[in-house]
Symmetry: C2
């Protein structure tokens, strides 16, 4: 945890915050805070700043909060992701929050196992906990929006256009390798990256995405797991935006 | 598993291979192979090809093996990594094999907890199992070499030059952001990427690396966990090599 996230209800009218439970324990046991220390804090959905430890006792932590700056700039990214197996999904949710993804659509696809949609990881409270953990890691305060869509075709045909702004669209697919020197997502526009299931997109899905303006983007000749492929591809795309 | 890795001792003089245990069970239960099917195989350290299922019974799988092509090309990458906590190390080992890292040096640094060097994950058999899993994912056959070095300064001052070939050297560090349009690791040369511990390199370490030709490379304004930072930075660097 590189930042303690504060909710509106933590913030008291006198400019202090009172934390209990997980965050108070983390400050005490991991950050080894004591009275007078300054901790990095952020208001969920808002600014970041510092929290000076006023008092710490038992299960409580009281901070004098100063919020003074914006959270890190966002890369302008949306992810369209074939729902991965639950274990991988946990890591992907952590990563999406760390990497500043604005919108994460968890989508069905022909090669997604139907049982994945019954995973407890998809419970809103479970998703939120992982996203918050990712924000605390990346010192960000803005939660990605997560959408779950169990039907591929209606989503891509009817909902995609309204939901994900026009901009650069890429679909991860092994071949053919793009040979351009430097990827160039049009500067200043948003990027949507679509990443398929373990076995890849089926041709119909790929065609439907390409018909919606998604260009193929390869992570190279190696088949990466989704939790390695996502940051790798976002690194590739980030290089093009520099 | 996208490829079954065969050891020399699996390969019989008549061009067949006899597998038992984990790989035979995987073929039967996950790949749902049956006689006549072709499975993707590779010889550890050698070529890739196909294994036609000749017979499958109980715990045994017999394949007619044809090795016919090279494993995927390698990006020419070495990683110098401050030893992460054991849980992250497991993922990093998987990733290093997936991403085709040639040499992974697990190094001490001021902000590495000493207890990490006692982790069971560092046992050679444990490391190898994770690397093999990464190779099977990426359809590669070439194991990264893993070195463990408990002293930062002697390694960087005395061993680094002989061990990691000259080429482009980068050290991951939050600031300042490189503003060059496209990173340009000199084409055709090898790349070494150094990634620090959770709390970052201390100034002395950074200076010593910079004195050895490492240029700072930022993953952006977000503090990423090592298992997200490594593929992200390798994606950034790969974009520069295209």
């Amino acid at each position: 945890v590189n930042l303690l996230l504060l909710n509106d209800e933590d913030l008291l009218p006198d400019g202090t915050a009172l934390l209990r439970g997980r965050r108070a324990a983390h400050a005490r046991e991991v950050l080894r805070s004591s009275a007078g220390d300054s901790l990095r804090v952020g208001r969920l959905g808002g600014q970041v700043g510092t929290g000076r430890v006023l008092a710490q006792s038992g299960d409580e932590l009281r901070l004098a909060v100063t919020l003074e700056g914006p959270p890190p700039p966002r890369p302008g990214l949306d992810l369209l992701l074939a729902l991965p197996r639950p274990k991988a999904l946990k890591r992907v949710l952590l990563q999406a929050a760390q990497l500043g993804v604005d919108r994460l659509v968890l989508l069905n696809a022909a090669r997604v196992e139907k049982s994945y949609f019954d995973s407890k990881v998809l419970a809103p409270a479970f998703i939120e906990r992982l996203l918050l953990e990712g924000l605390e890691q990346a010192q960000d305060t803005v939660l990605p929006q997560v959408l779950i869509r169990e039907r591929f075709r209606p989503f891509v045909e009817d909902e995609l256009v309204g939901l994900l702004p026009l901009g650069s669209r890429f679909v991860a697919h092994p071949a053919p390798e793009r040979s351009a020197g430097c990827l160039d997502p049009a500067a200043g526009t948003r990027t949507t990256l679509a990443v398929g299931p373990e076995g890849g997109w089926v041709p119909f899905e790929l065609e439907l995405l390409e018909a919606r303006g998604f260009q193929r983007l390869s992570a190279g000749p190696r088949t990466l797991r989704v939790e390695a492929a996502i940051p790798y591809l976002l690194g590739l795309l980030a290089a093009g935006r520099r």
